[in-house]
């Protein structure tokens, strides 16, 4: 493929330019994928070097350090205490004490159980006196996995703190050698609202994220490699254990399983994924263009009562979705208002199958989503449309552009440039749009073939609602939900990565400042 220079490219005809761009794009894909691998390799190399540097630094600190530093390798914070930084020293010491106590009292046990996820499950025991059977609960796989993960987090935190402790000793020696004074506890406290203020501000949010997002995600990723479900809940029914890649093999297997199913997991997953992508595409772009259209209609010169029109639409954002969506779902029902109205008018004889027929249901969902989404998009686009410098339009009109040309040559490129990142997040957001689907249809109508593979799968089910359904009921195949969750992540990440590299508006954020 010949590569044109910029000026040569300008000479091409319109069609050739388009063709050239397309071929360039597809030719660049292998290179981009290669680029990802190169980046990964570089990252690994960087990490390896960083570890090496750290190790070397730790070693040299030990060799060259004074006795206070050397003791600090064993007793954290000793150096701080010996050099008069009481507050820091005590904190280090306290942390080390807590860590050792925890590891001895509990952490060790959890770590030792982690490889097996529990050895003794619940047992039936016979009570001779009462002449009944009773159950003795023993190991708890769930807790083992949970506290095992927590312990690993804790160990990592300890290693990091230990490293900080050593680095501080090195710094302290250097500062004292240069004849300056070390920071006192009071200085440290003061810097927490000044130059170190970001640490204060972020400590609470990051702790929350760590405990309530990172930890659960790590846990759920691990669950995908176990057989945790309703029948193996790890305590009351049965223990669960590691199963390796089995769940992924099941999910991505195209062979039809035995046991009465007519469709493989992979096929079911593929079907749901296809609809999810289709839905995300339509939901994003119908809203985007229609929302922009409404915004332009309201913005148009000479239209009065602009505020009223906007308020009517904005009001619908305020009403909780569970009310509006549930109500709309009933409006479209067989005996709902819409069918009732159409029949009363005599336009139809039989109720329209809004929710009963797969295609009807899918279209109705998309249309209802337009109703939900337009007010929001109208707001977003209004702001941006008003930001387009009006002299651009004036100059275009003088150059002889009609309204449609003004739209395609000025408005649209500008909008796409500015809202590019928003469109991306909106697309991935729609892929995970639980509310609209679940409250409108609950996934209905049921897809019998797909359902034979895993639980109830409907034609309007997205991956996310399917995932939710899998975790419900007695079967509760958590391991399967985890696998689906991981796959959703992979799909979203891939799309984001590709689009992110194509978007023109992804620039250094500092450009905006």
């Amino acid at each position: 493929m010949k590569k044109y220079t910029d000026l040569e490219f300008l000479k091409l005809s319109k069609g050739k330019k388009f063709l050239y761009k397309i071929t360039r794009f597809f030719c660049s894909i292998p290179q981009k994928i290669l680029g990802i691998f190169v980046a990964l390799w570089n990252l690994i190399k960087k990490i390896a070097f960083a570890v090496k540097d750290e190790a070397a630094d730790i070693f040299s600190t030990f060799v060259h350090g004074d006795w206070k530093t050397k003791v600090s390798f064993l007793v954290m914070g000793f150096g701080n205490l010996a050099r008069g930084q009481i507050l820091r020293g005590l904190l280090f010491l306290l942390f080390e004490g807590v860590f050792i106590a925890y590891m001895v009292l509990a952490g060790g046990y959890w770590m030792s159980m982690l490889p097996s996820l529990g050895k003794v499950g619940p047992e039936e025991k016979y009570d001779f006196i009462l002449d009944t059977y009773y159950t003795v609960y023993n190991d708890n796989s769930f807790k083992i996995l949970l506290y095992g993960v927590l312990t690993i987090f804790f160990i990592i935190a300890f290693i990091y703190t230990w490293r900080v402790n050593i680095r501080q000793n090195k710094m302290a020696e250097k500062i004292l050698a240069s004849g300056k004074k070390l920071k006192s506890g009071k200085d440290d406290m003061r810097s927490l609202v000044d130059d170190q203020f970001h640490k204060t501000l972020m400590s609470l949010p990051l702790t929350g994220i760590l405990i309530f997002t990172v930890m659960p995600i790590v846990f759920m990723i691990l669950v995908a490699f176990t057989n945790y479900d309703g029948a193996h809940d790890g305590y009351y029914s049965n223990l669960f254990g590691w199963v390796g890649m089995d769940n992924f093999n099941t999910m991505l297997n195209w062979n039809v399983n035995s046991g009465g199913s007519v469709q493989s997991y992979a096929a079911t997953f593929g079907e749901v994924l296809a609809w999810t992508l289709m839905w995300a595409f339509f939901a994003t772009f119908t809203n985007y263009f229609l929302g922009m259209f409404v915004a332009m209609a309201i913005n148009k010169k000479g239209i009065n009562l602009k505020k009223l029109w906007r308020t009517v639409l904005v009001m619908t954002i305020a009403i909780p979705q569970f009310i509006s969506l549930l109500y709309v779902s009933k409006m479209f029902a067989k005996n709902g208002i819409i069918n009732g109205f159409l029949m009363n008018m005599g336009w139809i004889e039989q109720a329209l199958p809004f929710w009963e027929d797969p295609t009807w249901a899918r279209i109705t969902v998309i249309i209802t989503n337009i109703w939900i989404g337009i007010p929001y998009l109208m707001l977003i686009t209004t702001g941006i449309l008003m930001n387009i410098p009006s002299d651009l339009y004036e100059s275009a009109r003088i150059d002889g552009a009609n309204p449609w040309q003004q739209y395609t040559k000025i408005t649209l490129p500008y909008m796409l440039f500015v809202t590019g990142p928003y469109l991306l997040t909106s697309f991935t957001g729609n892929m995970n749009n639980f509310n609209v689907i679940y409250l409108l249809t609950g996934g209905a109508p049921t897809n019998p073939a797909a359902s034979s593979a895993a639980g109830t799968v409907g034609y309007t089910d997205l991956l996310i609602t399917w995932l939710f359904k899998i975790t419900q009921g007695a079967e509760s195949q958590y391991y399967l939900a985890s696998v689906v969750g991981i796959l959703v992540f992979v799909v979203v990440a891939l799309i984001s990565l590709v689009v992110y590299n194509v978007l023109p508006s992804i620039k250094n954020e500092e450009d905006f400042q």
């Binding site: 501000l201 949010p205 994220i209 997002t213 659960p216 009732g340 029949m343 109703w371 500015v418 905006f512």
Partner: protein, 293 residues
């Protein structure tokens, strides 16, 4: 200049005027249509909440018999309890979440520390995991702590606010528009970073603070998924969404449909009123957020 040249533009002008009037009429018609379509469901809910004669879904809109029966019936159910649950969790979440989001976004907008970019990238990646997945484990953990079912409200608040630090985008975008030289001037003037936040940034960020409070309040007010998980079948721990959802199940819809409408009206009115009062700030937040991405 010949006479033709003089008259031609005048004619053209007339044409412009009529075509503009025509297109404006079309747009008015369209806007009226849109307004009607957008308002119909809400009008229907309102009307049907006053229907007395039948409690199930029907194919007509105007009640044949009007009355407050449905509203009275609401108070014989657990609805007041759900309402209080929802209100309390929404209010507390609004306050705490706003504080967390502002801390996070101010930090990421104003401080340049080594881990800043990796941290932002990490949170972006975290956000790609379906949040629902974490509910499975959070439910088990909260249940061990006794924060589910009838004690769902504190548990729910914890879930709502815990990860709210990840929702920093919009307010960070806003903070980014406040010139950094203001911070610098204040710091040269003798302010600590904390004083910069308190005396300079926050007073200038009223719209975004209100936007954050509003969205933080509206989230729990209409949440279904998390509340459904945490309250899990215990009526006294439910919020309005979970409680009222059941009224539309197959077995209850014929007796509770109009009650759902009445409940919907009671849930929607306060938040809509609040929303319309603060519309200006909401719009500002939404537009700013989209531009910043």
């Amino acid at each position: 200049m010949s006479e033709n040249n003089v008259t031609a533009p005048v004619k053209r002008h007339m044409g412009l005027k009529t075509s503009r009037a025509l297109s404006n009429t079309a747009i008015y018609a369209l806007l009226i249509c849109i307004s009607v379509i957008w308002l119909i469901p809400f009008v229907c809910i309102l009307l049907q909440s006053f229907r007395v004669e039948l409690k199930g879904p029907v194919g007509y809109v105007l009640p044949k018999q009007w009355g407050f029966d449905n509203y009275i019936a609401l108070f014989k159910t657990d609805f007041p309890r759900w309402y209080v649950n929802t209100f309390v969790s929404a209010l507390i979440t609004a306050v705490l979440q706003t504080i967390i989001v502002l801390c996070m976004s101010y930090t990421l907008s104003r401080f340049r520390f080594k881990m800043r970019k990796p941290l932002m990238r990490f949170m972006l990646i975290l956000g790609m995991f379906p949040g629902m997945l974490t509910m499975i484990i959070l439910y088990r953990v909260l249940s061990d702590l006794g924060l589910t079912q009838e004690n769902a409200v504190p548990g729910l608040i914890l879930v709502y606010i815990a990860s709210s630090g990840m929702g920093y985008y919009v307010s960070k975008g806003f903070f980014d528009t406040i010139p950094k030289s203001l911070d610098e001037a204040a710091r040269v003037d003798g302010a600590t970073r904390f004083q910069v936040l308190k005396k300079i940034i926050l007073p200038l960020s009223k719209p975004i603070v209100i936007y954050t409070i509003l969205t933080a309040f509206m989230g729990p007010w209409g949440d279904y998924v998390f509340a459904q998980y945490i309250s899990f079948g215990t009526s006294s721990g439910m919020n309005v969404a979970v409680g009222m959802y059941r009224w539309l199940n197959h077995d209850q819809i014929s007796s509770s449909y109009t009650m759902f409408c009445a409940g919907g009206v009671l849930v929607a009115i306060p938040v809509t009123a609040l929303f319309l009062c603060l519309q200006k700030y909401y719009v500002e937040g939404v537009t700013g957020g989209a531009v910043k991405g």
